[in-house]
Symmetry: C2
Subunit: 443 residues, 2 copies
């Protein structure tokens, strides 16, 4: 099902109050500030004008021309009526308004669904945080805007989604789209999975779910999506108390976690355990589709190299056995204090040339599938130099980078990111990133 | 053994080159910029002066007066000779210089140890990154200076230690001391464990080790330290390849990890699996000595509450069963959409009053041992308000806080930190923090 009208609209109408601070106002502001290039129509029966970031927009008392998508943030009880009015004027509506089944008002939600069906309008929500189509510069939500990239985030929980956008953005994740689907009265996770599976700007899909309503449909959609690109899942409500909490939160039956887990494995989806892992996996898959299991570690400090080694092994990966040729070439070109066994320790004074040469030599070794490059703050040279070595090195295998620590390598990390290379802040998180890439190859 | 002369010296001599960028210069700069209030004497046979942060210091060609500690960053081969010269002038020397047993020069290291013994000087190092006594404003290392607090970090790997200082500092950890002990020719992890166990500014000790030389001595020191305060351990070289890498890095026999693990458990040390966990555990123990297992979760968003619930249960903690009285009081004072079952969902418009009241009510429930307070960016109020509620709430039980996400709650987190309340960036990391506190109580 094509949802381009939601995520790449050429026109949008926003319904609600345009007082500063009101939800509809905040969404309008986000759309305008985000640089949306299509038509934007604020709608409120009172009419008037609204000022957003220096632009004055006329508020229409009612919508009188077709738009590709409507965003609705008016009191719940008026929503079904508005949907009827929109018949013929739009094919898609995002209902932000709360006050439906999530507060026990199932009847109003049924009314909404009926109205939408009769009007030929598909609904996202109600009780949701809205949507982003980042590559269409369409920020149809009050959540913080994010940098463009490859991740489509589908979240059952609006607040989780909002927090994940803000944190992911800071962690260096790039987004293609975001959808908070709330009560899923009409469109739900299965529809979005299928749509983003075919969306050309989406490289990886991440899904936060507590439960689904139609298990069979979900499984088929997940299978389809995972056959096209990596799908990362954070399933909440796994424990007994968690499932109870989820049921009181989204009203969804969390169901037996064992069944979910079996399904995730069967279709090749990547299940993560924690919010932070979701970002890390997304970053890895934004860069690479997959990786093999035999990893070479290149570091300028022994300790972090050992930590990475431990983590890789505990995750079922292999510390690559370097070929004799590689060892020979490394031995000939490195200072005697360097360790040329994997993990390869370039020691504290490693510079641009040493890093770049070693990355290129190791990359050509047939025993190596992926590289983990670690850099602790070099003492006498700026971290940008090492970043530059990673950027310049000719290597056609996945390279996962761990520059630490914080402030001291900030510039290096910035330079890497400007070249599409995402940083993982600890050796263990970098190791886990490779493990996810390898899981995908395994499947 | 009293090591106050190392960590709270009233005078220090630094030996080495004072060219800008040289190791001795960087250490001198760190000492001066760090606000050291004792006497600082740069020593180099060439004499002259050195300018540091606007101050001009006279370089003595040789040390001719007693100091509490000497920091030595001269070529390795000259170190034993210098130690002999220092007889009677100091009782402690930190040898930064590399080029001893770690590069196969065991003989020079033996010579160093012999000279030190004869001179009555205790040695930290050689081949180390130096030491910090943060509360004595003594930054005797080239590593980045850190904020004062309760963590004493003992690191076998200098580079790991340096990275951990920088990252910990950014993560909100406060430090009492740091010691990188390098080759451990004389003083080693056991001495530092015992010393920090009795140091009044140290609330928690963290130890990064790859291996130890004297297992029995280590076990006794660890037992002693863990009987006094929480000891967090990150053991590297756990896997087969990791142990091999460790042996080539610090030359230490990593030994069977199973034995280490049994010892850690037996003495009640807290073993963490990852670098990031080391910071999180340290933060938790800087605030609290321990906690019980029954946790109440208070949140303004359902999803993160469910994630915290899952993680707590998977870590063996309990979601507290609130007393009837608590439920009644909460029900009476909260809007009907709020969930008064644990996790307690205060919903999106929760403000100062709602958070504070609920924290105080829940804190008085005898079924509750600890509180996990979650805050996603409130839509209509600044996060500082919620931070203020946590600060003002009268509660004598451990409260672990998870404010997310990033930029949007930055001011709230800053306010919390200025009141000694450390933030955990995800629900799962906050849950794990409580699990460590509970482990300590269990023991």
């Amino acid at each position: 099902m094509n949802l381009d009208n939601f995520f790449y609209p050429s026109s949008v109408a926003v319904f609600g109050s345009f007082r500063r601070g009101a939800i509809a106002y905040e969404i309008l502001r986000n759309i305008v500030e985000g640089g949306f290039e299509g038509k934007v129509i604020p709608v409120n029966p009172k009419g008037g004008t609204v000022e957003v970031t220096g632009r004055t927009l006329k508020i229409k008392p009612r919508l009188d021309e077709p738009v590709e998508v409507a965003i609705i943030a008016i009191p719940a009880k008026f929503v079904p009526g508005l949907i009827k009015e929109l018949k013929g004027l739009t094919k898609g509506a995002v209902v932000i308004s709360a006050g439906f089944s999530e507060v026990g008002n199932a009847k109003l939600e049924e009314e909404l669904v009926r109205a939408a069906k009769e009007a030929g309008i598909r609904i996202i929500g109600p009780n949701c945080a809205g949507i982003f189509g980042v590559h269409g510069k369409f920020f149809g939500s009050f959540e913080v805007r994010v940098k463009p990239g490859g991740l489509a985030l589908i979240s059952q929980s609006g607040a989780f989604g909002g927090a994940a956008l803000a944190m992911g953005n800071e962690e260096g994740v790039g987004f293609s789209a975001f959808v908070s689907y709330g009560n899923a009265a009409d469109l739900n996770e299965s529809d979005f999975l299928r749509y983003f599976a075919d969306d050309k700007n989406t490289k990886v899909i991440a899904l936060y779910i507590e439960g689904v309503k139609d298990g069979r449909r979900f499984m088929e959609a997940l299978r389809y999506a995972a056959s096209k690109k990596p799908v990362i899942i954070l399933k909440a409500g796994k424990s007994e108390s968690g499932a109870r909490a989820a049921s009181s939160h989204t009203g969804s039956l969390a169901g037996s976690y064992e069944i979910y887990r079996a399904v995730f494995r069967q279709v090749g989806a990547i299940e993560v355990e924690e919010m932070e892992e979701l970002f890390d996996a997304a970053k890895a898959f934004e860069m690479y589709e997959q990786a093999g299991k035999r990893v070479a570690i290149i570091t300028n400090s022994g300790g972090p190299g050992v930590l990475a080694t431990d983590k890789l092994e505990s995750l079922g990966l292999e510390i690559a056995q370097l070929s004799e040729k590689t060892v020979k070439v490394l031995r000939a070109s490195l200072p005697p204090q360097c360790s040329v066994k994997n993990p390869i320790d370039l020691i504290a004074d490693a510079d641009y040339g040493r890093y770049r040469r070693v990355i290129e030599v190791v990359c050509q070794d047939d025993n190596v599938d992926a590289l983990l490059v670690i850099c602790v703050p070099p003492i006498f040279i700026p971290s940008e130099e090492i970043a530059r070595a990673v950027i310049d090195a000719k290597c056609n295998k996945p390279i996962i980078v761990n520059f630490m620590a914080g402030e001291l390598v900030r510039e290096g990390i910035r330079l890497l990111e400007s070249h599409g290379i995402k940083n993982f802040p600890t050796p263990e998180r970098a190791a886990r990133a490779i493990a996810w890439l390898a899981k995908r190859q395994d499947f």
